[in-house]
């Protein structure tokens, strides 16, 4: 680590000679994983990765570059400086200062987790044990563990580090031509339940076999947490980005302060609770809770420094490293969907476990049309007869205006934490 810190110091020192502001983002991770090919482990792998992202700002012009070779830091710095020369200048109020931030345990590092291949083979055995409860064939799966950390340092003296561990499993099954897939991941190994993941993956394939046809028409539909995550994740969450809002390509652009969703609905980003937890965002701004939607009202949007300075807003601590060359862009830490919780499973409805093709939704308008997977009827709290194939069409923003209810429990899907949701009278096309 000492060697890494000296590279960071070198970049900051050299960078300040040519730019107003300099920032270094350093990330490292080591991980191991195994892959099932059919029901047997076919591949076991390991990696040690590192990356350096450099950002310089000179006269309001921002340049970035990245490399996975710390020895190439000078070339990378030069490249960031050249890039800055071409960028359109903008209002710039400086990188963050090393202000005091409240110390909290982010609960993202499992000290007992061992990054060892034997840990993953044990998880595979548990997946198989769970899957053996049903007559489905295992066609694939994976187990992995990793440990890594980031350092964010800038020329104003911010030096922030954050370490995380991660354990994850997934299993794919088939029964005839009926398929099942389940997964789980967490920062803590004992928070995932591979036996249950295996059992559910096998159950889905077996239960969805020999499904009935469904007549084209309007139905009440329950979307499982996974399906909610797929549909909201591809359209709704991105529309909270202040960048999309200011650029007028977000559906919510002119709806700030408006009650345009169901009055029971709240959507927020909690940066202190979940796998995406961080005290500072990836450009060093202290994070805070962001209430995107509060009881149906569009309450606020998310900003990084660049967008905030440009449009006279405040950064919400929402920068993540996902841009080209590792540049910071607006993202989310841990996104929660909440609202009126009740039993949504009693009255008859179509239940969709996952959807196929959520990414083809119209990201601006919210119109979508997807195929349902592992769909079944649901009544009196029980999953009933499976539905062979059904296409669900709708507009996600329209749907959010009238939510019939949300399940009492939420599910953690990585850094997205959502309940199942019930909607009335959606359009379903049968075969």
């Amino acid at each position: 680590m000492v060697e890494k810190i000296s590279v960071i110091d070198n970049i900051l020192r050299e960078g300040q000679k040519i730019a107003d502001d300099v920032e270094v983002f350093f990330a490292k991770a080591s991980g191991v994983g195994v892959e099932l090919k059919g029901s047997q482990i076919g591949e076991a792998s390991g990696s040690d990765s590192c990356g350096i992202g450099i950002r310089v700002i000179k006269d309001g012009k921002i340049g970035c570059s990245s490399t996975n070779d710390p020895l190439k830091w000078k070339m990378c710095l030069d490249s960031a400086v050249s890039g800055a020369k071409l960028a359109t200048p903008q209002e710039w109020g400086g990188l963050p200062l090393p202000s005091e931030i409240e110390k909290r345990d982010l609960h993202t590092f499992d000290t007992s987790l061992k990054v060892d291949i034997s840990v993953t083979t044990e998880m595979i055995n548990k997946l198989k044990t769970g899957a053996s409860e049903y007559e489905a064939d295992i066609v694939g799966g994976s187990a992995s563990v990793s440990s890594g950390g980031i350092i964010l340092a800038n020329s104003n003296g911010v030096f922030y580090s954050n370490e995380k561990t991660r354990a994850g499993v997934s299993l794919e099954t088939i029964c005839g031509t009926s398929t099942g897939y389940e997964f789980d991941n967490s920062c803590f190994q004992d928070e995932i339940d591979p036996v249950n993941v295996g059992r559910e993956a096998a159950y889905l394939a077996v239960h969805s076999k020999d499904g009935d046809e469904i007549d084209t028409g309007k139905y009440d539909v329950i979307l499982s947490p996974v399906a909610v995550c797929q549909l909201l994740g591809s359209v709704v969450f991105p529309s909270f980005s202040g960048k999309s809002v200011k650029a007028k390509r977000s559906f919510l652009a002119d709806k700030l302060g408006e009650c345009c969703m169901d009055e029971s609905l709240s959507i927020y980003d909690d940066p202190f609770n979940g796998m995406g937890a961080a005290l500072r965002d990836s450009e060093g701004v202290p994070t805070r809770k962001i209430d995107f939607v509060k009881e149906g009202v569009v309450n606020e949007f998310s900003y990084d420094l660049k967008t905030a300075y440009r449009y006279g807003e405040q950064s919400t601590g929402s920068a993540v490293r996902a841009g080209s060359g590792g540049a910071p862009v607006i993202g989310t830490h841990n996104i929660y969907v909440d609202g009126k919780r009740e039993n949504i499973y009693d009255e008859k409805a179509v239940y969709a476990h996952t959807v196929v093709g959520a990414h083809t939704a119209n990201g601006i308008t919210g119109d979508f049309s997807v195929e349902l997977s592992n769909a079944s009827w649901m009544q009196d709290g029980e999953r009933g007869r499976p539905i062979r194939s059904a296409m669900l069409s709708g507009n996600i923003f329209e749907m959010l205006k009238d939510i019939q209810g949300m399940s009492p429990e939420s599910r953690k899907l990585g850094s997205i934490i959502v309940p199942a949701m019930r909607f009335g009278s959606l359009s379903v096309v049968g075969k």
Binding site: V34, G38, T88, G140, T179, S324, G357, T360, K431
Partner: protein
């Protein structure tokens, strides 16, 4: 230390350039550097893999240590692996018309800005453009003594525009990617096309879902070839029992008119001079006149499944290669576009693609057109938006009744196992009977 039965190393080093323009603001113009290798060893049973960063800097001693680490990983594997015989070799990389490396980042910014500005017509509230360029040297070596090295540059741009009128917003998008050199000169028309489509879509009605006859344009039919046929023919899926095409070689699975090919040797965006395990790429005829003819394979799936060709192994830099498509297309038929529209009589013409997805084990696919036109009395009628198509692979192939002779190839990227690789999909216009069309009108 136990010696590996086989090992190979695929090393990728190079740079990637990105330019991002949003509402005529140059948001970023960056060049980044990558140097990474994938080392695979075959132990007594399966594969052990080590991903090695900064491979260029590693000594032979360090590489030997990576080999023993990978062997230790391999010791936990259970699947018996044998590798099928396939001809090793490399194809020449086609010459570029204008090497993007010879053009300054500044000039690339200007060219992209010209395309983006062309989209700023009345009614457009936001326009964006992106340029990406990946320049890399790939070096492959294996324990059988094969060694290949090539340089390739993939580049291209996309432009999108958002139109708004009252409360309605619609987007149009155009993109072009190539291995044949810089392609951004005199392309202002593409920005304009994206903008004009966005504006036209404002007055299009939402499509009405149901079962109807559909004409697919070249781009959407290409996505169909890729999603519905290509994925299900991938040897790893067939081997693991997650493809509805498993066990169907020699069977008639589609209409006589249907022939589907994956050809990595074509100088399209999915071209590769040598695959990720040193095999000489070759054209594979997946479906020939409606009969399932071949699967696409890597050496391992060729050995297990047979009936097809190796040479289809591909991987991102620093990732384990998988069986992947390259340039996938439906062959031309002998009908004309006009005949197809007339023959459809009453139905829908689906144009452009917003992407698609398939569950090859279940045999179900879904994809979305950018827009479409109703077909009434054998002629085009009103424009519709947000229209999608789903279906059952095996049923749908029998429902392709006409193919035109106007095949067009469209470059893009395909995702599988968390990796994205450049591909091209292509097709002529096709007529699909009893298609399941989705829409909420």
């Amino acid at each position: 230390m136990e010696e590996p039965a086989f090992y190979d190393i695929r090393h990728v080093s190079g740079s990637s350039t990105h330019i991002e323009i949003d509402n005529s603001i140059v948001e970023s113009a960056s060049v980044s550097f990558v140097d990474t290798a994938t080392l695979r060893v075959l132990g007594r049973k399966g594969w052990g893999v080590a991903i090695i960063e900064n491979y260029s800097m590693k000594s032979q001693k360090e590489i030997d240590e990576y080999i023993s680490t990978a062997m230790r990983y391999a010791s936990v594997t259970e699947e018996e692996v044998s590798l099928g015989d396939a001809k090793s070799g490399i194809l020449p990389v086609p010459a570029m018309k204008e090497n993007p490396q010879d053009v300054s980042l500044e000039e690339k910014c200007e060219l992209l800005l010209n395309i983006e500005k062309a989209a700023k017509i009345k009614g457009i509230v936001n326009s964006r453009a992106n340029y990406t360029e990946g320049l890399g040297t790939v070096f492959y070596t294996d324990s059988s003594g094969n060694e290949y090295k090539y340089d390739m540059c993939r580049s291209g741009y996309s432009v999108s525009a958002v139109a708004k009128e009252n409360d309605i917003m619609q987007a149009g998008r155009e993109s072009e990617h190539t291995i044949l050199g810089l392609n951004m000169r005199h392309k202002e028309n593409k920005g304009l096309e994206a903008a004009e489509r966005a504006i036209k879509l404002l007055s299009a009605s939402p499509a009405k879902g149901g079962i109807m006859d559909a004409v697919l344009d070249q781009e959407l039919a290409g996505v169909f070839a890729h999603e519905a046929v290509g994925h299900a023919s991938e040897g790893d899926l067939v081997k693991e029992g997650v493809s509805v095409l498993r066990g169907k070689i020699g069977e008639k699975i589609g209409g006589d008119i249907v022939s589907v090919v994956d050809d990595p040797t074509l100088h399209e965006f999915g071209f590769m001079p040598v695959d990720a395990e040193g095999v000489l790429p070759k054209r594979t005829d997946i479906i020939k006149n409606g009969v399932l003819n071949s699967f696409i394979h890597d050496r391992q799936t060729l050995a297990v499944v047979g009936d097809g060709d190796a040479g289809h192994s591909r991987g991102e830099a620093g990732a384990v290669p998988l069986v992947r498509m390259s340039n996938t297309f439906i062959e031309n038929g002998d009908s004309s576009y006009d005949e197809i529209i007339a023959e459809c009589r009453s139905g829908i013409l689906l144009k452009g693609s917003r992407g698609g997805q398939v569950d090859p084990g279940r045999g179900v696919f879904q994809f979305n057109a950018e827009y479409g036109y109703l077909i009434e009395n054998g002629e085009l009628a009103g424009m519709v938006r947000d229209v999608s198509l789903t279906g059952d692979i095996l049923k749908t192939l029998h429902n392709i009744v006409l193919c035109a002779g106007d095949r067009v190839m469209n470059p893009g990227y395909c995702g599988k196992g968390g990796q994205s690789v450049p591909v091209t999909d292509g097709s002529p216009h096709i007529l699909l009977k009893s298609a399941v069309v989705g829409g909420q009108g």
